[in-house]
Symmetry: C2
């Protein structure tokens, strides 16, 4: 709820009360709505703030509401009946979530940090599609990109070694989203346990792998949650790109 309230999230972002002031508009599907029609967006969208650790929705819940992250970070995951968890993605401000597959959400979503969300009811989203056909276009593109990412992740999960998994993960975190360059200073805000569940490993293996990579000089770890990559080229060779 908290319509128009500034985000309390600790990650610097805040959602503007009006879509035309949204700081992540360029990344969001909302950018497919012309700037001078953002009022139409405002009319349809609600807002919600959630504290770190809270659930946004759970696998199996009735769908019907979709979200755009305006501030904070989110993890998506699926569980097995005995509690084993696979994290399927980490989302950032501007990312979209909540399209359900057959009436129910296909995965669970949790706030990793404090989070501010833009909320659409699915019916309103359809209205938006009709009023601004480009939005559906944009959505299809996004879905397609996500599919490519998912396939890359299958390759990682099914065929890479622990070393390769961790290095691929770090490379991805360091890649610029616009050009195809890399930032050698990588921030890794999530816990080792989240990383493990994302890479299909155990916490212990992730930790040991970090240690081994550090001892080999492939990475430096100023703190547990930031990593420096002194030789990206070599890392790319080992990780098989990504």
């Amino acid at each position: 709820m908290n319509r128009g309230a500034p985000a309390k999230a600790g990650h610097g972002g805040s959602h503007a009360s009006a879509c035309d002031q949204c700081t992540v508009r360029h990344r969001a599907i909302c950018s497919a709505v012309d700037f001078d029609h953002t009022a139409d967006l405002d009319a349809l969208v609600g807002h919600r703030d959630l504290a770190a650790g809270r659930s946004i929705f759970e696998e199996g819940d009735d769908g019907g509401t979709v979200f755009n992250i305006s501030a904070g970070e989110v993890r998506l995951y699926k569980l097995l009946p005995d509690g084993r968890r696979q994290i399927t993605g980490f989302l950032r401000p501007g990312d979209f979530l909540g399209l359900s597959s057959h009436g129910a959400y296909a995965y669970s979503a949790e706030a990793m940090t404090n989070v501010s969300l833009c909320v659409f009811r699915i019916g309103d989203l359809e209205k938006l599609f009709d009023a601004f056909p480009k939005v559906r276009n944009r959505m299809l593109e996004k879905a397609n990109d996500e599919l490519a990412v998912a396939q890359e992740q299958m390759l990682l999960l099914g065929r890479k070694t622990a070393r390769e998994k961790v290095l691929s993960f770090l490379l991805r975190r360091g890649r610029h989203e616009d050009d195809d360059g890399y930032n050698p200073e990588v921030s890794v805000p999530m816990t080792r346990s989240d990383i493990a569940d994302y890479l299909g490993l155990t916490v212990e293996t992730v930790s040991r792998t970090f240690t081994a990579l550090r001892e080999e000089g492939l990475i430096e770890t100023p703190s547990a949650h930031s990593v420096f990559l002194p030789n990206i080229k070599r890392i790319k060779d080992i990780a098989g790109a990504f």
Copy 2:
């Protein structure tokens, strides 16, 4: 090429020369074009037949052409530089492939059997989208479903044991696509090596797992490529559904 020629594929399907006679229309995105407008489809679509084993396109190739399978089976995969392979999906008649992510295909596609394809240039597809908005809708739905399937596969690859992987695989092959029932007679036309590369295992492990499951009475194997599931409920329990 072979415009209008009956498919030589060994799997029973054949593509009609005209879309209104297509036997897999109901599964394809084409079903979003009203039946009395299929002539418009005909005007845009080309056809191609490929022999088993031939490549349809490879990861990195310039995109620009998309396909619908009218007969035969296709595998999608990604490779690591050293040749390790991850199969990301098996496709059947009616399935769609070839949307590229940023100008280039994100994965490779190969005919597993003889295959007949409907071919669209991407520009023509856009025309189709404009003429029949429902098609884009259908496409978005399909992309969304695929995403859900991909996430299910990540859970399998990252968190399931060999036993669970094989059983999940068999269950999926046995699931009806309409209702949520299962057919206990499962056909497994692909090689053990394809199965292994799909499940993130080695051929040997797949083979040994089949043997072990047979000895436990969980499956029966009339032949290497057909499996009978005498107790689906028990299998579901072990596999963690799917």
